[in-house]
């Protein structure tokens, strides 16, 4: 992989490897001046540009899951990480549901497997991680926040990342919830950033209403997202629904992600959003990881299933 060797057809081997690793089914979006468009992205060319970087998103690893939809979530997580590390991202984000039942041993196993990637990893919790204790155990192990709510932000290569928690203190009849305290913090956190800073928002439950009947949305996403309207490039990375769905709204692009554990049905397809049991040879085509390339204020995403 270190040498670019052209094969007989003139395709360089490095490119060929990357196509193999990331598959042709990947969905690609870019954002420039608020105009999103599909983009054919040559990873090598991007890497050569100054100030650019790549990171990986992994989501819904559900370590501890035992139902028939995937008898081996540890194995599929290991495969997902191998795929991620092969593309050598700068770091990784995990958008929640690290564990299935928030049990200490499940967090231990997840941390142990995640460690094999040898990548700096930024976590946010999913509702499965907070089910027993509002996330106390999760934040002890994976948290980075200075506040008790667990939300935080960080800067990477000129981009500003916001890691939100929308899975605690949920109200009857509702969906995900950020809460007034977190929204205030967000307003304050974004206030001093210049409008040209790429903003990347992480939240487990979708920050737009995908299917409220199944709770696939966040009640107070709209007032929170008012604070990002002045920014030229905003990318929202969610998990929770175990499939890739995207939406563009003004300067904001929204993306849910694959799970590495089990797929879920398309919105409204069937009686409920329960784990989807598919034939064993089809499972890995419905699990996957995401690579995100940031070049100046352009953000390009590639979703790669574990199997084409």
């Amino acid at each position: 992989m270190s040498e670019d060797v052209k094969d007989a057809r003139g395709m360089n081997r490095r490119r060929a490897m990357q196509c193999l690793m990331w598959g042709s089914a990947g969905v690609l979006w870019t954002m420039s001046g608020g105009v999103p468009k599909a983009l054919r992205l040559d990873g090598e060319a991007v890497a050569a540009e100054a100030g650019s970087f790549s990171f990986a998103q992994i989501s819904d690893t559900h370590i501890g899951f035992k139902a028939p939809a995937n008898p081996n979530p540890n194995g599929t997580l290991t495969e997902a990480l191998a795929r991620i590390t092969a593309a050598r991202p700068a770091f990784m984000v995990h958008t929640g549901d690290v564990s299935h039942l928030a049990k200490p041993e499940q967090f231990d196993t997840a941390a142990e497997i995640m460690k094999s990637a040898k990548l700096d990893t930024f976590y946010i919790p999913g509702e499965h991680d907070t089910i027993e204790d509002d996330g106390k155990l999760f934040f002890e192990r994976f948290g980075r926040a200075k506040n008790t709510g667990g939300w935080y932000s960080f800067d990477m290569h000129g981009a500003h990342f916001v890691a939100l928690v929308n899975v605690v203190g949920l109200k009857g009849g509702g969906q995900g919830m950020l809460g007034a305290a977190q929204r205030e913090w967000l307003e304050d956190d974004l206030k001093s950033r210049s409008a040209s800073t790429p903003i990347i928002i992480l939240a487990h439950m979708p920050l737009w209403s995908i299917y409220p009947q199944w709770g696939w949305g966040t009640e107070d996403a709209a007032p929170a997202l008012d604070y990002v309207k002045r920014f030229g490039s905003v990318t929202v990375l969610n998990g929770h629904i175990h499939q890739v769905i995207q939406k563009v709204e003004g300067n904001v692009t929204y993306h849910t992600a694959y799970s590495t554990a089990f797929p879920q049905p398309a919105p409204g397809d069937g009686p409920g959003p329960g784990p989807l049991k598919v034939p064993a040879d089809k499972l890995k085509a419905m699990l996957g990881v995401r690579r995100i390339d940031v070049v100046a204020d352009r953000v390009a995403l590639r979703d790669a299933p574990l199997q084409a």
């Binding site: 035992k66 139902a67 028939p68 939809a69 299935h100 039942l101 928030a102 509702e127 499965h128 907070t130 089910i131 027993e132 899975v167 949920l170 109200k171 009857g172 009849g173 509702g174 969906q175 409220p212 009947q213 199944w214 709770g215 009686p271 409920g272 959003p273 329960g274 784990p275």
Partner: protein, 120 residues
């Protein structure tokens, strides 16, 4: 003085026993009869079934999770608060309702899942 006191104590004791007897006759028996009652709620396809369950006071209600996903049972509004642990597939949770009233509850991680127990 001692005798008087003894008599007073005896009188009080007798009164207490009488009250207990009357209470037993009018209040405890229905309570005892109702406490044998059992009712079930099934969690299936991200819904509580039946969505509204009406029971007599003292009834023991058991929720059983038949989904491949995890759920909880958490009171939202009502005379007494309750919350289950995470219920994995096949797990159950039981509450005995001694106080009459309407209990609204949710799954704390899927709050669109709502249910109601009416205790008469």
């Amino acid at each position: 003085m001692t005798v008087y006191r003894k008599n007073l104590a005896t009188t009080l004791l007798c009164a207490a026993m009488l009250v207990a007897l009357i209470c037993g006759a009018f209040y405890m028996r229905p309570g005892l009869a109702a406490s044998d009652a059992k009712a079930a709620v099934t969690i299936d396809n991200y819904a509580f079934g039946p969505g509204t369950l009406t029971v007599k006071r003292g009834t023991t209600v058991t929720w059983t999770n038949k989904d491949d996903d995890v759920h909880t049972v958490k009171s939202d509004e009502g005379p007494v608060a309750f919350k289950s642990q995470a219920l994995d597939t096949g797990d159950s949770f039981t509450v005995t309702f001694d106080k009459a009233g309407t209990y609204q509850y949710i799954c704390s991680i899927h709050p669109h899942m709502q249910g109601k127990i009416v205790v008469q």
